[in-house]
């Protein structure tokens, strides 16, 4: 059973202090349930990955942002807020071909109905809001992911979706691989 903390507003979140006993070696895969509270597990996990690969602060911000947007979209729209559906996030370093750089590649998989966030219809340009009353309360996630991810790819699985988000690292900043 996972320990939880209760926030001031009554929201219960997993106790992050118990979720990652050794931040130097982040687990390759994070498994979440389709509840927004589980997004709090992502922060310490990415923090540990960032420490391991000396990820610049701006890139760490971009990774956190894109994962939060991707995962909250899956929970709220893909799974329609049904709890206890599985989502997995994996990371792996990769070389960028013909370029003196490496990437951190995150792969998010779910079993929700197919949804391609890269399809033109997923982020159809709406008329610019002329007043704050018209500003849409949602719908920013895909735009933010497109702006902040170095590379985005979507693949339909037999029973779900795979979203790949890659972030470029300068080679000199990544650790030597034995």
């Amino acid at each position: 059973m996972r320990a939880t903390l209760t926030l001031e507003n009554g929201m219960t979140v997993p106790d992050q202090s118990l979720s990652n006993p050794d931040p130097a070696w982040p687990e390759a895969r994070l498994t979440l349930k389709s509840q927004l509270e589980d997004l709090t597990l992502v922060w310490p996990w990415v923090e540990a990955i960032a420490a391991r690969y000396s990820v610049p602060a701006d890139t760490q911000f971009a990774i956190q942002l894109c994962l939060e947007e991707a995962l909250s979209n899956i929970i709220r729209h893909g799974y329609q807020s049904q709890p206890n559906q599985a989502i997995s996030v994996e990371y792996a370093p990769a070389c960028v071909e013909n370029d003196n750089a490496e990437e951190l590649v995150f792969t998010v998989e779910d079993h929700a109905p197919p949804f391609d966030p890269l399809a033109p219809s997923a982020d159809a340009p709406a008329p610019a809001p002329v007043s704050i009353q018209e500003f849409p309360p949602g719908g920013q996630g895909i735009r933010l992911m497109r702006k902040f991810a170095g590379r985005l790819a979507w693949q339909q699985l037999p029973n779900g979706n795979r979203l790949t988000l890659a972030f470029t690292l300068p080679r000199s900043l990544s650790p030597s691989v034995p």
Binding site: L7, N9, L39, Q64, E68, E69, S131, I132, R143, L144
Partner: protein, 111 residues
């Protein structure tokens, strides 16, 4: 996520946010932000110590700003860091709520 308020000269309410406006941070400040927005006429949202802003955090800023503006009040966003400002610009909210890095300019914007 910490939130504090200060009444400044000229009827300005300064709300200082401190921490990560991620999904948990947004939930932690929503109630207080909405209470403040219920009475503020000139709202200065101090983002200087906000280390992260996601779309849920953005909503926690836009909703109270909308409430203040709908009552004829004014809102300004103050001193976001470069990445937070990039989120504001990507969403387009910077065209509807002014973003200022200089306190005097922010105060002037509130009228």
């Amino acid at each position: 996520m910490q939130i504090s308020t200060e009444e400044m000269p000229g009827g300005i309410t300064r709300v200082a946010l401190d921490g990560r406006m991620d999904i948990a941070g947004a939930a932690a400040v929503d109630l207080k932000m909405n209470l403040i927005a219920g009475s503020a006429k000139k709202l200065l949202v101090d983002l200087e110590k906000v280390a992260f802003l996601g779309s849920m955090g953005l909503r926690s800023i836009v909703t109270p700003a909308r409430a203040v503006k709908s009552r004829g009040g004014t809102v300004v966003l103050f001193a976001p860091n470069e990445m937070v400002e990039s989120v504001l610009k990507t969403s387009g909210i910077d065209t509807l709520i002014p973003v200022r890095h200089d306190l005097d300019a922010a105060i002037a914007e509130l009228g």
